[in-house]
């Protein structure tokens, strides 16, 4: 939720002495720029254009990886119109398949809804459901990394925290099966949170007490976490048979609309987490401390805020949110843990937090975008034989453009701030 903003964030004083000296504490903050006092739609411009640009470049790659289109282009000089129309056709088919794969076909949804048949509706809405299912864990990890960003911490350890969260949630899910289902589910979620929180607490303490940089420690702890999961999967408590696959957990998120579509309660938990993080950051004294330490630890300390304690709390909370993603995996798609059950989720979290500009609402939107791209990408591959790797390229391009807002602004000739030039040169003027 954006803060109440000023009607105009510009300076009333074009030669204000030192606007440019408000150096962000880190390059991360610069890339993120969730500026206080920025209107919500201003924050949206760069990510939206980044997505559009990535899709355009993705289209070019699609054309040049399609034999039919390449052949048309080889005869470009004689039949330029053919080359263009073939390209257009290839791209539009691919992207249409992507869209339908991610959101279903509007015609089919309409038919199903008007027929009133439950099964037809379910099958028409299946793609959307899949998108939501894919987006759910992304929301947790995105929130995890975003929370760190806002407090000036770069939590690269989401991957490890997801793993430990899943491991501890699994311990609860396997060991406490005597509990009634709903209580077991809640216990698993709490256990996942606590596991992830522990894995965030460690680098938090290391940073607060010894100054060890969280980027280094969290990367290292990722390896430790993955190895720990492998080890525990070989113990009698976890292992199912000879395979390194755990016994299934005793409870799972109930499906929201019957078993035909897989969308489950996890999305509600994820959205509640997003709301909770937004509320925490913007409406509470705790969040104020987080943001203060993130924006200027020196001033925060001088104002009586303890940056060390804040670091530990933020890292623990951030880890806990990643842990929820681990619990989510266990309580939804596959009930068992297996090596790499959360592979890559932590790193997706970084991408999503960047794309969402460290803002919980942005994180939710970015998660749905990535979920849609992945879900739609699968059917794009099936329907048009466009390789799903294109999706990875598009995702990567989105991140590149979001991380380099100057590039996007230059591309679309958006001025950074209307009096930006003046402010730069006015620095230090009388």
């Amino acid at each position: 939720m954006p803060e109440p903003t000023s009607p105009d964030p510009r300076s009333p004083d074009p030669s204000a002495n030192d606007p440019t000296s408000s150096e962000p504490t880190s390059a991360v903050a610069a890339a993120l720029g969730p500026r206080e006092g920025q209107r919500w739609y201003q924050a949206l411009v760069v990510p939206a254009l980044a997505v559009v640009t990535a899709l355009v470049i993705g289209a070019i790659i699609i054309v040049f990886s399609n034999e039919q289109a390449l052949e048309a282009w080889s005869r470009f000089l004689r039949h330029p119109a053919t080359a263009l129309s073939v390209s257009w056709q290839v791209v539009s088919e691919a992207y249409q398949a992507l869209l339908t794969g991610a959101f279903g076909s509007p015609a089919e949804i309409w038919r199903a809804v008007s027929s009133g048949e439950l099964d037809a509706i379910r099958s028409a809405l299946y793609p959307i459901s899949e998108t939501v299912v894919t987006a759910t864990p992304l929301i947790f990890v995105g929130l995890s990394v975003a929370l760190g960003f806002r407090a000036g911490l770069f939590n690269i350890g989401a991957e490890g925290q997801v793993n430990i969260g899943g491991l501890v949630a699994g311990a609860a899910g396997i060991g406490l099966t005597f509990l009634p289902d709903p209580i077991l589910l809640v216990t698993m979620i709490v256990a996942g949170f606590l596991g992830g929180a522990l894995w965030g607490f460690i680098p938090g303490v290391l940073k607060a007490k010894t100054g060890a940089h969280e980027v280094i420690t969290t990367i290292m702890l990722n390896f430790v976490a993955v190895s720990l999961v492998l080890y525990f999967l070989s113990t009698d408590f976890y292992k199912q048979q000879a395979e390194p696959v755990s016994k299934p957990a005793g409870a799972a998120y109930p499906h929201l609309f019957g078993s035909g579509v897989r969308v489950h309660l996890g999305i509600i938990v994820a959205l509640a987490a997003a709301f909770g993080v937004a509320w925490l950051l913007n409406r509470t004294t705790i969040g104020f401390r987080f943001r203060a330490v993130g924006a200027n630890p020196d001033a925060a300390r001088a104002a009586g805020i303890n940056p060390h304690r804040t670091t530990i709390v933020v890292m623990s909370l951030s880890g806990g949110l990643s842990g929820l993603a681990g619990a989510n995996q266990l309580a939804s798609i596959t009930p068992s843990l297996f090596p790499g059950f959360a592979s890559g989720l932590g790193f997706d979290g970084i991408a999503i937090a960047l794309l969402g500009r460290g803002n919980p609402a942005g994180v939710v939107a970015a998660s749905f975008l990535f979920g849609a791209l992945r879900t739609g990408g699968r059917s794009m591959q099936v329907v048009t034989q466009t390789p799903i790797d294109i999706i990875v390229v598009i995702q990567a391009l989105v991140i590149v453009f979001v991380a380099a807002p100057a590039l996007v602004r230059a591309l679309y000739r958006i001025k950074a701030r209307r009096v930006g030039l003046g402010e730069t040169f006015a620095k230090g003027w009388g």
């Binding site: 204000a16 002495n17 509470t284």
Partner: protein, 518 residues
């Protein structure tokens, strides 16, 4: 070269930055452009230098119209500008910096450093601008770097030199040297536009003075016709007292008692070396001294931001040993930090949030952990009003305020809490006359309400204006404590330079009038 600006008007959305400004700089004159921060000097010079286009008005050079679309045009026409923040490549030599962009070359485009160095030497010799041609710029003191900038402009055959707050970074000796150079340039026919807000300097060096206020030229005069008070009033737009009047202090109980304090700096060196000092309710004690003599560490120790290595601090009756920055603030201490942008404000946060930066978690600004945005905004609006913080709304980021207004935000925040001890470092650094007067007045009001005040300042003017007692700090020790009434500038200057070290017994409290009873 004669430079004339006629009717220059520049609008920014919502602001009239320059309102029909006329300015004429005659050949061979030093023309001071005087004004507070935000008066429009910046904008005017940016227009002159081709960085902005004017909305209205024209520029005449030697009577003929001129138009600069970029700084390149301005330089070609004979303008040179020395920015406050130098535009030099630190790892290049002086000659390389000066020739950068208009390099002399030999065959095959090889740089002819020797030829350039000869010209640099010739220019610097002619104007008494001594620069070591082969030295690397980053090794040079700021005063010399500034000379390199001036030579750079002259190398490009500047006939009009714009100096932006040139004395802000200089020591008094360097300022004198700069003035000598300016006079020499003037004698050769170079015109100089001297931008500043320091009144004494204007009167010392300028031929003509143009004063700006709120985008308009409010007056034009000469040093012979005016004085500091009049210039200050023109600048601010109302009568200004350069020294705020105050009654003799009514000293109460000791509030701060420092005994044999030793504090180490970040590198572990002893920065505060056995300091003892008392500050009583209702008095202002100023610590005078050249920057870097342990004042910063002393303040940090008193506010619990830095641990004491030895000795004791009693603040408001409590030992400070186990205190945290938070408990110190809560016990009734107001702190105006030395570096407002680093320690005083979170510039990305709104003015409102900065106004409650150390009370954000207390009622009425929070109930439990939930903040009350409405209470914060209302209190912020009230405080901004009461302390004359010029802001459109309290929701705009503090980074958009001018330095003076940023400082007022800090003062408003600290003075709005019930405080019994105020510690302020360089409370008016970089501020204009109006803001200085305002903040001084507020500090004296605090004293009159019975607050104990400790000020650290490197500005002797400020020390003389505020102090009831003056403690001079040199190399981590307090070399003398004088009642302000008997303090003489010259003696303070000598003490600050270390001349009194042997006389004052080891730097502990107890010489002239300083026997603040424990």
């Amino acid at each position: 070269m004669r430079l004339e600006l006629r009717g220059i008007t520049k609008r920014f959305p919502g602001v009239l930055a320059n309102d029909h400004v006329d300015l004429t700089v005659e050949e061979g004159e030093i023309h001071a452009l005087l004004g507070e921060n935000g008066a429009g000097k910046t904008t005017l010079m940016n227009i002159l230098y081709g960085l902005y286009g004017a909305d209205e008005g024209e520029l005449l050079i030697d009577g003929g119209p001129a138009h600069f679309a970029s700084p390149g045009d301005a330089i070609a026409a004979g303008l040179g500008m020395v920015h406050q923040h130098f535009m030099l490549v630190p790892v290049f030599t002086v000659t390389e910096n000066i020739m950068l962009g208009i390099e002399s070359t030999r065959r095959f485009g090889l740089l002819d450093r020797a030829a350039a160095a000869r010209r640099v030497a010739e220019i610097s010799h002619r104007h008494g601008l001594d620069v070591p041609v082969d030295a690397v710029v980053e090794d040079l003191p700021v005063g010399v770097q500034q000379r390199v900038e001036i030579v750079k402009a002259l190398y490009r055959e500047a006939e009009v030199l714009i100096l932006d707050e040139p004395t802000a970074v200089l020591t008094p000796q360097e300022t004198e040297e700069l003035f000598a150079v300016m006079r020499s340039l003037k004698a050769e026919g170079t015109s100089i536009v001297f931008i500043t807000h320091k009144l004494k300097e204007v009167l010392a060096i300028a031929d003509r003075i143009t004063v700006m206020n709120r985008g308009r030229v409010v007056g034009s005069t000469t040093p012979a016709e005016t004085n500091e008070e009049e210039l200050a009033s023109m600048m601010v737009g109302r009568a200004v007292k350069l020294v705020v009047e105050k009654t003799p202090a009514e000293r109460g109980e000791p509030v701060l008692e420092i005994r044999d304090l030793v504090v180490r700096d970040d590198r572990g060196h002893v920065a505060v070396d056995g300091v003892s000092l008392d500050v009583h309710a209702g008095e202002i004690v100023c610590i005078a001294g050249v920057q870097g003599n342990g004042q910063t560490e002393l303040v940090e120790a008193v506010t619990a931001l830095r641990p004491a290595a030895a000795g004791s601090i009693r603040l408001l009756g409590d030992e400070l040993a186990s205190a945290t920055p938070r408990s110190v603030l809560r016990s009734g201490v107001g702190h105006v930090p030395e570096d407002r942008q680093r320690d005083g404000l979170i510039v990305d946060f709104s003015v409102a949030d900065n106004l409650v930066l150390n009370t954000f978690d207390q009622p009425p600004f929070a109930r439990g952990v939930v903040r009350d945005a409405k209470e914060v905004r209302e209190a912020a609006e009230e405080r901004a009003e009461a302390f004359d913080v010029r802001t459109w709304t309290v929701e705009q980021p503090a980074s958009t305020l001018s330095g003076g207004n940023q400082q007022k935000v800090i003062v408003a925040r600290e003075f709005s809490r019930p405080i019994r001890f105020l510690i302020a470092s360089q409370p008016t650094r970089g501020l204009d006359v109006g803001s200085i007067e305002y903040i001084h007045r507020r500090i004296i009001e605090q004293r009159d309400e019975g607050t104990a005040v400790l000020i650290v300042s490197v500005e002797l003017d400020e020390v003389m204006a505020l102090a009831d007692r003056i403690a001079v700090m040199y190399r981590g020790r307090i070399v003398d404590i004088l009642p302000a009434a008997s303090a003489v500038r010259e003696r303070l200057g000598l003490l600050m330079a270390g001349a009194g070290t042997t006389a004052a017994s080891g730097g502990s409290e107890g010489s002239v009038g300083g026997a603040a009873g424990a």
